[in-house]
């Protein structure tokens, strides 16, 4: 997990499906408008279910939201979710 946090995907011990999911996450983070049906099909072919792909998009998008708020204010980056649920 630390390797992923530092962007070192090759050292993360990821299988092919997991690696493809993170490549897709990168695409949605950096150039979402360039994503294609083929990109999504590749994930399905590697075993990801439609609802899982959708949820991966929601999380990716949600962190586009949180990271921008934190960085605009100047809060040091942290894994917000290591601190646990935000509501009881």
């Amino acid at each position: 997990m630390t390797a992923v946090l530092e962007g070192k995907l090759d050292e993360g011990g990821l299988n092919q499906a997991e690696r493809a999911l993170l490549d897709y996450v990168k695409l949605i983070t950096e150039a979402s408008w360039q994503s294609t049906s083929e990109d999504v099909q590749k994930l399905r072919d590697l075993g990801w279910k439609e609802n899982q792909i959708a949820e991966a998009v929601y999380i990716t998008a949600m962190f586009a939201f949180f990271n921008r708020v934190a960085d605009a204010f100047g809060i040091p980056p942290q894994n917000y979710l290591l601190s646990g649920k935000l509501t009881p």
């Binding site: 993170l22 204010f73 979710l81």
Partner: protein, 104 residues
Amino acid sequence: MREDKEKTASMPDYIQEISKLGLKIKLIQDAEATGETASVYDEWRAKTGRTQMPGILKCFGQRPDFLRQVMQFSDTVHFSEGHLSRRYKEMIASYVSYLNRCPY
């Protein structure tokens, strides 16, 4: 100049850079919170049993009504029973947070 070598040695460089910049937009801290903002902060403390509210939540102090909703939807997407395991969600969250601090 790295003063706190032990604490920061394992942090990626970009985290150290951002930490040096300090706060840019004013946060509503606990001592300054009034009205509904104070209520939401108090509610959070009462319900979680914790005293230190995460900085990211205080960012939303200017709109306490939105803050309540932010806490709810982030729990829904990340913590509630969904389609991806917690492990995969955290993997995605970590990687996206890294990417958003890189020039691209």
